[in-house]
Symmetry: C2
Subunit: 336 residues, 2 copies
DNA sequence: TTGAAAGCGGTACCAC
DNA sequence: GTGGTACCGCTTTCAA
């Protein structure tokens, strides 16, 4: 239990050389093969493994990258992590996970804690952008890539999608499939995603020459139960022939509510979700859903960050992943 | 871009005191309130944030804990992470994620890299236990908790479940609900989980005095499509009134196959899944599923690890989380 | 090529 | 109570 791990000094002693030589031999800075051999032998003999912390202090690099998002349980973020992690590994970085639980304060702390230099970079998925976000983003201690919408003028590497356009696609798809009273079960109105989807919904109605009817709009947390309850309220007060759920969870909740109300999907009411998660593919009926390219966004973010860490100079980059509709059986339309 | 972060020396200079005083003031080791005030002011003035790496080197603690598993996309591991992370945070630890992608070699590297001391502890979910695992587990550089089965004699903190018993519960539940020709769509036969579930299935049949009929057993990867195909093969050749899927994905695939075959769930065929993931709750009909307590196991593992890090002495602990059946609409039985 | 020594940025012991 | 200083374990410059 107590045996202290050997340090570079033990290796040096065992090999009968200086610690400088050990360091060089281990980092390939030596051309004398005999030296290298002696050191390697000594390393094995004493069971030496370099301390990552000491190396970090000296090199000013941690070999770690953080990914901060609301909740890893959210399928969209999960898809990102699964794409990000392998890319980081390839470049020798470890992944640190921060789930902020939709706590803005917490999110800001992550941003501000960057000054502690415990990671070399950060991929951040903010749920909201506050003044403090912007302030912290102005001169981050390490490179940061933000996934999501960003106010103009914030000079940070950024990858986004266009969920507004995605929402519009959903509405247009429903219209093309014959729906005329298209409801929206949105996420919380005070979130960026919520606002974008609402805007896209209105845009879609306008594009289809459909009137705006605010009784057709409900709000819910991005969860199944909340979606079910919100949809139930909606069905109580309005006659609808289609529901667009702001994410797959909400949409599936809506399908449950419809079933309870004795309405069939898609015959009575068509349903479209958003994020195109595994839930959409496995639900019954399989859910038509708008993909926001989470995997691609995660991959792009990782690549952009790694490029910065490699020293890539230049102004803040911005990449946009377009939304795409995956048509399944919860709607009667054909692929866009 | 270039402004070097201020160190403790800058603070000391700005406050006109020694670095020792700064350190003390910041760590609450000082009783002189005036001193503290001056230091705090200086900290704000120069914008000082302590270096986590330097602190780690000195204190020999990183404030980080790693969680290593096959694939975070697996709902069971996801559930664990969601439970582990908040507990670690509470104690001030950051979470490092290692997805090994079912690569034993990679898993062992994680174990061996512990000697680098970049984390204070590890929660490991091994897919297999090899000799090298055991060797590395014999004297880990930091405390380790293993989630999963462990050969006797391996002296490591351990939390496990009993999926064999879980499979048996599923069969007994189906029997009690009136099923007599109970099929198993298992995972791959050469995996530990696959073998345990098969054994439990047979055990359940025996307990119910049901004959063993190998034509009622199919194999599939732990995925929806594979489950659907395997169930289709099964339905092609055998007459069944119940299907136990070795995980929720397989079970949902089976429900899709049943639907395609015009069989209704649960009236014609009852279905039980395993893992009790969100898919079970959101599918239609909602899927009866055997929970293997992933959340609890994650939570227990975190607690055990934190206890060790707090210095708790003693022999290796072992906790077992019993399986539990969650009855939903895909079966006609009542709660166990 | 190799070794001595100066830090990297903190903490904590030891005198004063 | 406060300041000087050794040291955590490594990398890297500088002389020899």
């Amino acid at each position: 239990m107590a045996a202290p791990r050997p340090t570079i000094h033990e290796v040096a002693r065992a090999a009968g050389v200086s610690i400088s030589s050990v360091s060089r031999a281990l980092n390939g800075q030596t051309s004398n093969p005999e030296m290298v051999a002696r050191v390697k032998a000594a390393v094995d003999e004493v069971g030496y493994v370099p301390s990552a912390v000491a190396q970090s202090l000296k090199t000013q690099q941690t070999g770690q990258i953080a990914f901060a998002m609301e909740d890893i349980g959210n399928a969209a973020y999960l898809a990102m992590v699964r794409e990000i992690q392998p890319r980081l590994r390839e470049d020798g970085y470890r992944l640190l996970l921060h789930a902020t639980g939709a706590d803005v304060q917490d999110e800001i702390e992550v941003l501000e804690s960057l000054a502690q230099k415990y990671v070399d970079g950060l991929v951040l998925c903010p749920i909201r952008i506050t003044e403090r976000h912007i302030a912290a983003l102005r001169a981050p201690a390490v490179p940061v890539v933000v996934i999501g919408q960003l106010p103009a003028g914030v000079d940070v590497d950024n990858v986004r999608t266009d969920s507004r356009l995605g929402a519009r696609l959903a509405v247009e798809h429903l219209y093309a499939a014959g729906a005329r009273r298209i409801a929206l079960v949105n996420g919380p109105a005070d979130t960026v995603p919520g606002q974008a989807r609402h805007a896209g919904y209105l845009e879609g109605l306008a594009a289809c020459d459909l009137p705006v009817d605010e009784t057709l709009v409900e709000f819910a947390d991005f969860q199944v139960d909340a979606g079910r309850e919100a949809a139930a309220r909606l069905l109580d007060r309005a006659d609808v022939d289609a529901i667009f759920g702001a994410n797959d969870l909400i949409a599936i909740g809506a399908m449950h509510a419809l079933r309870s109300a004795g309405r069939s999907v898609p015959d009575d009411v068509q349903v479209v979700g958003m994020d195109d998660t595994i839930l959409a593919a496995t639900s019954f009926p399989p859910l038509t859903s708008v993909s926001l390219g989470s995997r691609e966004r995660g991959g792009l973010a990782a690549d952009m960050l790694l490029a910065r860490l490699r020293g890539e100079p230049g102004a803040a980059r911005r990449e946009t992943v377009p939304p795409a509709l995956t048509v399944r059986e919860s709607t009667r339309g054909v692929a866009a």
